[in-house]
Symmetry: C2
Amino acid sequence: MNNNLITAGFLIIGNEILSGRTPDQNLNFLAKNLAEMGIVLREVRVIGDFEDEIIENVKHLKSKYNYVFTSGGIGPTHDDITTSCIAKAFNQELILHPLANEILIKHYGSENINEARLKMAYLPVNAELLDNPVSSAPGFRLENVFVMAGVPKIFQAMFVASSKELVRGQKIYSREIKFKLTESSIAHDLTKLQQEYPDVAMGSYPFEGGTSLVFRSINLNQVNIAINKMIDLIKILNPNENIEIS
Amino acid sequence: MNNNLITAGFLIIGNEILSGRTPDQNLNFLAKNLAEMGIVLREVRVIGDFEDEIIENVKHLKSKYNYVFTSGGIGPTHDDITTSCIAKAFNQELILHPLANEILIKHYGSENINEARLKMAYLPVNAELLDNPVSSAPGFRLENVFVMAGVPKIFQAMFVASSKELVRGQKIYSREIKFKLTESSIAHDLTKLQQEYPDVAMGSYPFEGGTSLVFRSINLNQVNIAINKMIDLIKILNPNENIEIS
């Protein structure tokens, strides 16, 4: 629906999501925020803490989308292998990053820097640190990949920092209507309307007690025209339908 | 950690997850239930309603894992394309499935069967319907792929139906300890312990105010020995630490 789409992929790294121990809390946050910025999240992958898989997925996603975000695996323990995998995906060495090191020393005190803490200050050669007002965890940007923490509060702070650097796409306008008719009652009219307005992406989502239709496009006028036509069609099917518009 | 691992992949299909409109509610449910059955969820992907992408991802995941679950896109509207994509991924035709058709007629009444409703009864030739006590939506199994609805309540009912057919793996035992010391304080001891017990997967997860360690293995005895050693190590670092064990 747009030749100048700006796209993104999201790689969630962590056994704890796949084992069910931790429910993911970052996907919906990222999706909503990117949509606000006109950046289209095209794909999300959740994988475990395995070096080969992380490297392979980072390589794939960074070549496919304008931006890639990763979450998880940048802490000080043995299972935090994201940073070294990112370095390998870019064929870069890990070096002691002066600013990351300075932040760690300020946070822990120079007398308390141990091997595990120091590990966090080793970043790929060309990494640029992301601002992180919440903790000393070193999120960073390397080319089009933003490497962020898995803890939601830190992930969110890092996203705010990275979002300043992102090229915005065209805003995607979205309107929704909810009503009691079932999906299968309105499917025929909806299909015809979708053919009439190919630039408006029309999604239909059943819920208990009714149907929600979401119309999305970079052209707000088209969204409004199409949704008003749909409202008329619903009223023909059921004149008493109480349509909730948002 | 086990040569006889039974593995699974999960493909979430739906623009509404990627746009942020709908938070996913199925991943954590599936992850927890598979873990209970000793089936290891190795990968999750979230993609939009695009035919090529659905086909490509289904082909990839079904050849890589013992089981694949999909959610979303099996309803009556134009954006519900999962079933036809599954057929294409398996090089099978869609045919009017007698049992699916019968269920639809019973649900809507034969006089109310329209084109959109009938569409839902067309399934790949070798598809076996999944029991669905919640709605008339036709979830199905085709070889190692379980095609299920996106609506959480229906997804869950279909999973319960499909789970009767799944080969269980060895149960994975999991124990967790929580304490106030930071990850970077215990990282050194934890790395050494991981080397000593390679069959126990040790994960470290920071949270506000402390650290959670999760030890997982098919060998409960090893989990218990390792976690008790870790508790002793933590008490050496901080004799007053209040360790929460679960």
